[in-house]
Symmetry: C2
Subunit: 427 residues, 2 copies
């Protein structure tokens, strides 16, 4: 017989944690709705072919595949060499592939510029490790049909607002543009066909540092003169002076003669985000010319969410103008921002509902059931109510209730007047 | 390439429908929490062996099985005759099997009497038909560890309260007890080993009527004298006089000498539910001695939720004291009530958030992005805000916005003062 544990790499969510997660999700949902986004939902499974069309990158290898229904042993043996013969469906590994499919399917019913919220679990059969689960929640917002920087500005402002509403003030967004990377690598002299590999190496800058990057590029056999130019550039003293955000700082962080159009695009996003912050505070953006983001589908602006309290990213996203065209046969601009909900949930302190009272009603065993339910109903005027039969260890019962988040208690014996119970605070 | 439609038998949920569903779920969740239930969550997948342990009845055959990761063609051929060799996991087909597993796994961290809320999707590969989907949401509440009628009373009161909060006043609960059915079938003279089959037939009473029942029992070859006794009983004139709920009516609906203990149990639940309703209104219960409920695991009270506006059930449940013992090796009493969320969602009229304003901000194309975002942020003081670039068909844009649930609009040109836009109602 199976164990009573959840499946490997997955977890049960107990009441206190579930309540906290639902509160966080309600805050995020409320903020995103306020910014004009609309929530949608797709099935958790998508067709096998769609999940393995090359868009999902490494995640495709981590997907859970669902066996076709009604296969007999003969059909299974015949299909043993062909995954698509055995599996017609799979659990989604992200919310982006389903969104692109959704948009292609439902476009006629959606506004010309569609701002989507998606909140839901995804599945990846990764090696289990502390704090990482094979089922986890993603919170994505995406804007389809807007090729202007208005889309990037709305996404970043909404994401920072959601984070502030969760109590994480002072977050910032690292920003770059894939077109900046393309131009830089071209300027250094890397050939077009070696650039994807060079980007994979550059993406490790935070982990292995400039020396590691240069060494790895040499190992890769990248064009030697380009590696030299890149090395010299990395060693410029001013490279790491990223603040404050603005045109001078962006130009300073880049090799000379950066394209005006892309610089203006990044500067404009900064001004808009400042306007959304609604104050004269510093613009919460940091230009990072070496931000890469792993997915192959990004085509323009890319960003990552940072907070001073943690070294890892709390979310990120970017523009992927080419993806929907693969499903729809017509190009539709798109840009998205994903919050790392599991990381946020780990980071935020447990908080109970402010001001919400929760009452334990401890009753003698002989209180008639109808009386008991009448007392419970009356107490519910004051907060949520849990019934507990009186036990010998009364103090233990109250302690346990307090640990479960209850803030008050009352006691009742048979024959007490309904509505007249004294509510006492739980110490 | 795959189509852009959702997988067969599943659906996308578009913004208006998603918003409505989330509002309904928030109401249900809020009411259940108020009644002292706590929400939990389990992974959507469970181990294959657990999903196929005989508890799920016919649903086991409808389950989606997940292919083990890392099987090569040889392993697939070797396992072709053994489903468990190919599949280690499956999508859950209900929330009851996962709850029993959860309770067995986490019991040490749960209160002695544990009141669970579970809200989430389940999957069944049924033949697709109108209004039935292969992925659908269930809303369950269950009480573990309470063998008294207090549990049934709390479940029924909470469920009726949730329904009333959703705007469905006037719902009622059909109630019976598996022990009533056992005793009746024994009294008629059915042998113990034929009773499960007889119950399956009786469960069709609503569909095929008394004549159909008797005919089917004869076809089954059930004990002839017992079928005669049952037939005579079904034709008693007073059989269908179910109201008002109370001892006289329960005894009247049953053959003579019904066991006092079970009658008192059902009467007590009625009194408690009346107390929970908090008024002198009629008790919202209907005793139905032929209510069966399909699942094999029920051991005591069973119930179904009815509303005058529809002929089908809106939910139901019952006591299943034997199930957790199968996982835990120790008997734990349990009783549950499941709301048919999809049916509720179909039944309830679309309603927008009362009083919540939603504003479309129509802007000229040349409004600088930072100005535009500043206007949006200022307008968000008054409600949610969607940006729309001005188009030639201005009226069409407003109509479309109204259809999307927006209630007001404003227009803005370059250079307008922030915070000074006029908000006009959308006709």
């Amino acid at each position: 017989m199976a164990t009573v544990n959840p499946p490997r790499g997955m977890r049960d969510i107990l009441p206190a944690d579930k309540a906290r997660r639902e509160r966080l999700l309600a805050v995020i949902r409320e903020r995103y709705l306020a910014h004009g986004f609309d929530e949608i939902e797709t099935p958790v499974v998508e067709e096998y072919d769609r999940l393995h069309a090359g868009i999902g990158g490494d995640n495709e290898k981590l997907s859970y595949n669902i066996l076709r229904r009604g296969l007999d042993a003969e059909a299974i043996r015949a299909g043993a060499d062909d995954p698509a013969a055995l599996s017609d469906l799979g659990l989604r590994y992200d919310l982006t592939v389903p969104l692109a499919r959704f948009y292609a399917s439902n476009r006629g019913q959606l506004p010309a510029v569609f701002r989507a919220i998606q909140i839901g679990p995804v599945w990846r059969a990764e090696r289990p490790q502390k704090g990482r689960y094979r089922q986890f929640v993603q919170c994505d917002i995406d804007i389809m049909g807007d090729d202007s920087a208005r889309a990037e500005a709305e996404l970043i402002v909404a994401s920072l607002d959601a984070l502030a509403a969760l109590g994480l003030e002072g977050a910032s967004v690292r920003i770059n543009d894939r077109r900046v990377l393309d131009w830089m690598l071209d300027a250094f002299g890397f050939a077009a066909d070696e650039r994807p590999g060079v980007l994979i190496t550059i993406d490790k800058l935070d982990k292995i540092g400039p020396d590691g990057i240069v060494a790895e590029l040499r190992e890769r056999g990248a064009t030697a003169s380009a590696v030299e130019a890149f090395d010299a550039y990395l060693r410029r003293p001013q490279t790491m002076e990223y603040n404050p955000y603005g045109e001078a700082q962006i130009r300073n962080a880049l090799p000379e003669n950066a394209p005006d159009e892309i610089v203006a695009h990044l500067v404009g996003i900064g001004e808009a985000v400042a306007a959304g912050a609604g104050s004269d505070a510093e613009i919460p953006l940091v230009f990072d010319p070496f931000l890469v983001r792993g997915m192959g589908y990004y085509t323009g602006t890319i960003f990552e969410l940072a907070h001073p309290s943690v070294s890892y990213s709390l979310g990120g996203g970017g523009r992927y103008d080419g993806m929907i065209g693969r499903f729809l046969g017509q190009q539709i601009p798109a840009v998205g921002f994903s919050l790392g909900f599991e990381r946020l949930a780990d980071l935020l302190e447990p908080q109970s509902d402010a001001g919400a009272q929760a009452i334990v009603l401890v009753h003698d065993a002989d209180v008639p059931l109808a009386e008991l339910i009448a007392h419970k109903t009356a107490l519910m005027e004051h907060g949520r109510v849990r019934l507990e039969r009186r036990v010998k260890n009364f103090k233990g019962l109250l302690d346990r209730s307090a640990a479960d988040g209850y803030t008050a208690f009352a006691t009742v014996s048979a024959g007490a007047a309904v509505g007249a119970l004294e509510i006492k605070p739980l110490a």
